[in-house]
Amino acid sequence: MALIYDITHTFSSYVIFGGLFGFIFYCLFSKIKGDGCPKLRARFMWFVLLIPLITYLTLKVVFPGMAFYETKFISGTILGTVFSLACQVGYWSSLFLTPILFIWAAIIIGRIFYVVISGRKFRQVNKAAAKEEFPEVFAVAGKFSKRLGIKCPDIFILSDQNLDSFAFGLFKPGIVLDREVLKLKQEDIRTVIAHELAHVYRKDALFSVIAAFLRDIMFFSPATHWAYNGLMQVKEERADDIAVELIGDRLQYGSTLIKVWKMGGGYESFPKVYPALGIAQTNVADRVERIIKPLPNRNISIISTIFIGALTINILSLIC
């Protein structure tokens, strides 16, 4: 039991303060580089979700005692007091987290099973569309899949989805199109298909589950919820960017986004769990604006990311 308390103590310190540092670095870099760039945002959101786990594995499992600094160098200073307090926060968190550890783990495992089983169940209940029945849809999907370098996923054409087209499947992807979407103009249908294929290309269903898993194991930190919600927004924006490249017409893309949003009843017909073109949990107006008035696509280099990560690991090593 003492070992479990020790693990939760250290891990929760890294989660709380790692998330905080990630958030501070994000604010700093978005000021320097300019906000609104999905690539930059995505990198920092993943940073916040991954750094506590990477720090723990680095400092406690793979290279115990590897930290560049040792606590003794700062003991007795104001900085030492600050880090002791941070360690104390981790200790208090462990008092709350350890007793609920098994329930917490059971909920996380249950959620993963639910996602896996619901995906399989979906395939059992619904039949994939036949190429002969919807030749135009398959022609567009085939052409775009080839350009993206992916295998054309299974396509499900279903009724009563409330215009909610979406991509799903962790390892065996599929896309679902509402039958009503097929009543739109050819350009709009191409746009919807391009968007959903972009999600398949990016493996968004799989990465969403990984992000949700990381959020769940660190549920007690506000920064992880901020990062997870940010990633959900970013994945729509990245899918928008890829789809725009596929169809080659920003204005058409914006127009379809608005059209689908309107047909779905605007915000009243809100969200499903999957990424969707027009009625996902994202602000449609902001997405359309970003598409038709694109900003320079800035990012942070891999080297800078590694440097920030190493710096954060070293700072966190002073806490516990």
């Binding site: 204005l251 127009s255 608005i258 605007g266 449609v284 107006a285």
Partner: protein, 144 residues
Amino acid sequence: MAKLKIKSLIGDFKPKQKGLGKVMGPLEAAVMDIIWRKEEATVRDVYETLNGSRKIAYTTVMTIMTRLADKDLLLKDKEGIAYTYRPAVSKEFFTKSLVGEVMDGLFDDYADAAFSHFMERVEEDEDKIAQLEQLIKNRRDKGE
């Protein structure tokens, strides 16, 4: 009766304050919250609950509760030598009436401005989307 008294509370409406603080003092709001939660309480019950979170005199609590009863927000029944207080209206009814009174007051005197502001709040995104739609149309017309 309760509605009439809510109208009198509006005179002290402080829009910048949070929650019940918009129409009451902070202590009055705290007392009302306790009584809504307990459904029935004596001055001592409320004093003991409040005393856990702040330093307060028994007589202050008694004065506040008497004042709330005078405003018809609390009803009091004599039990032995002590009074038991209960809320005159539920919290939901109170907040609903309060919002109704404020909105009605604004609509009575500033109907156009109040309605227009209300619609702006509701339609913010729809308006932005309509503007973007127009922008797309204009750029299309220019041959982009």
